[in-house]
């Protein structure tokens, strides 16, 4: 077998059609992950009774088990649960009508939420205690103080980790093939299988992922420059 450089290009073009799926999965999971993560981080920082141990258990369990396992558990467990609930309530809805990618969104969001909670928590802990005290002293409520004072600074502090997590998620979307969702990597496999040129196809996938990652990196750098201008003595 010999390398076919031209096929790398051919495969690359074919793979472009899978970009939306990959970006959708990554985007939805990161966004939901940030929401879940923020909620979990707040529960843990404020030690909310009842919820606090649950949140801690969620984080240790999810981080203690592989992402592929989460996907498989959701894929096989959630339909059973949904059908059982629907049946007992007498609703005609059945889980087969849910598209596979829906389970991917749910599973990856749950995974990402656990990791994001630590990113958000570290960001919030990086904000000086004096900041929230000053917010209280001018008369703000806790939600106002969080929204106006703590979150903007926490976001700036967490941005490098946030971008790290987002890149990790982008690459982790390749696991979606287990739910027969065609992402970039699965597409590469399909393209390769038609004419047995696996190396070329996967190389094209690698280059495509690299390109997307590069975009995220540039975007982060741009964002960092904008929102961190107050820290470096530059005016935005």
């Amino acid at each position: 077998m010999k390398l076919d450089p031209a096929f790398i290009w051919t495969a690359f073009i074919e793979l472009l059609s899978a970009i939306p799926t990959t970006l959708e999965i990554a985007g939805v999971s990161v966004l939901c992950g940030i929401l879940i993560g923020t909620a979990v981080a707040l529960v843990r920082i404020y030690r909310v009774p009842v919820l606090h141990p649950i949140a801690s258990a969620y984080v240790t369990f999810i981080r203690g088990t592989p992402m592929l396992t989460h996907l498989l558990l959701i894929l096989f467990g959630l339909p059973m649960l949904i059908d059982a609930v629907a049946e007992s309530l007498g609703i005609p809805f059945r889980s087969v009508s849910i598209p596979m990618i829906g389970f991917v969104y749910i599973s990856f969001s749950i995974t990402e939420g656990a990791y994001m909670s630590e990113v958000v928590r570290s960001g919030m802990l990086a904000v000086n205690r004096g900041q929230i005290e000053a917010a209280y002293a001018v008369g703000m409520t806790t939600p106002q103080a969080l929204r106006r004072i703590v979150f903007p600074q926490a976001f700036a502090a967490a941005l490098p980790n946030l971008s790290n997590s987002a890149i990790g998620m982008l690459h982790a979307t390749t696991l979606a093939f287990a739910a027969s969702v065609v992402d970039i990597n699965a597409k590469a496999q399909i393209v390769a299988a038609t004419n047995w040129k696996f190396f070329e196809a996967y190389l094209a996938a690698a280059l495509l992922f690299w390109g997307l990652t590069f975009l995220i990196e540039r975007l982060t750098a741009l964002l960092e420059k904008r929102i961190n201008s107050y820290n470096r003595g530059g005016v935005a």
Partner: protein
């Protein structure tokens, strides 16, 4: 008027405030002095509930709060009646000087933005920072930051401004500019409670001086009286140590 009645505060088994009574009349400037660990900063922080008193009663203007089980709303209203100037300035790092002063007006008092901006500019000019409106705290010196902090407190038009060692974190040559601003606003009849180590300043600017030690008020009185002829032995010892002449006179 502000009236504190039997304010107590414990950290675990350590009782740092042992039932403090203090009344501050409208327009009065009260300086609280005392050695480190005497509870003076804790007392100040209890007034706006940054520290939760274990017991006692706080009265500011019309509002009376029993400290044992205050509602969230009572705490919120209490904070709305006071403003604080911090030892470490605690300016909002991600906001410019003008935005720092506007923040409370816009978010808490719901003043329209243009009006808040106007008031913020006025106040920053008053503290001598008319040229630094759009500077971030990281671009300002300690003295400048503290003056923004004072403008931020003034903007809220509170019943009382609480100063928590406003010059302790400053380089010696920057202390003067901050004290000058405090002196200026003291003359305008704003009620102030100042925790400080600046003896001369306290003597000059305060109407009344309160000396605290080990969580209790040892002595209080007019500055001239208290500094010249303290009644309590503990006050005398403290003043002697804090006044350099007495230590280094040959």
């Amino acid at each position: 008027m502000i009236r504190l009645t039997q304010i107590r505060k414990s950290f675990g088994r350590n009782e740092v405030l042992k039932g403090i009574d203090l009344t501050v009349r409208k327009g009065e400037v009260v300086a609280i002095l005392g050695p480190s660990g005497s509870g003076k900063t804790t007392l100040l922080r209890c007034i706006n509930y940054l520290e939760r008193p274990s017991d006692g009663e706080i009265e500011i203007g019309e509002l009376r709060v029993k400290c044992k089980h205050p509602s969230k709303q009572e705490i919120h209203r209490l904070r709305g009646k006071s403003a604080m100037v911090f030892q470490q300035y605690n300016l909002f790092k991600h906001k410019t000087a003008a935005e720092n002063v506007m923040e409370g007006l816009v978010v808490v008092q719901k003043v329209p933005k243009e009006e808040a901006r106007k008031r913020s500019v006025e106040l920053l000019e008053k503290v001598g920072l008319g040229a630094k409106l759009d500077a971030y705290p990281s671009q300002l010196s300690g003295g400048q930051q503290q003056r923004v902090g004072i403008a931020r407190a003034l903007a809220l038009n509170p019943e009382v401004i609480l100063f928590d060692e406003p010059t302790s974190a400053l380089d010696p040559e920057l202390v003067g500019e901050v004290l000058a601003v405090i002196r200026k606003i003291a003359k305008e009849g704003i009620t102030m409670i100042i925790v400080t180590h600046e003896m001369n300043f306290a003597q000059e600017v305060a109407n009344r001086v309160v000396f605290m030690d080990q969580g209790a008020v040892v002595e209080e009185g007019a500055p001239n009286e208290l500094f010249r002829s303290p009644k309590e032995e503990r006050t005398r010892q403290f003043l002697q140590r804090m006044t350099p002449e007495a230590v280094y006179s040959i």
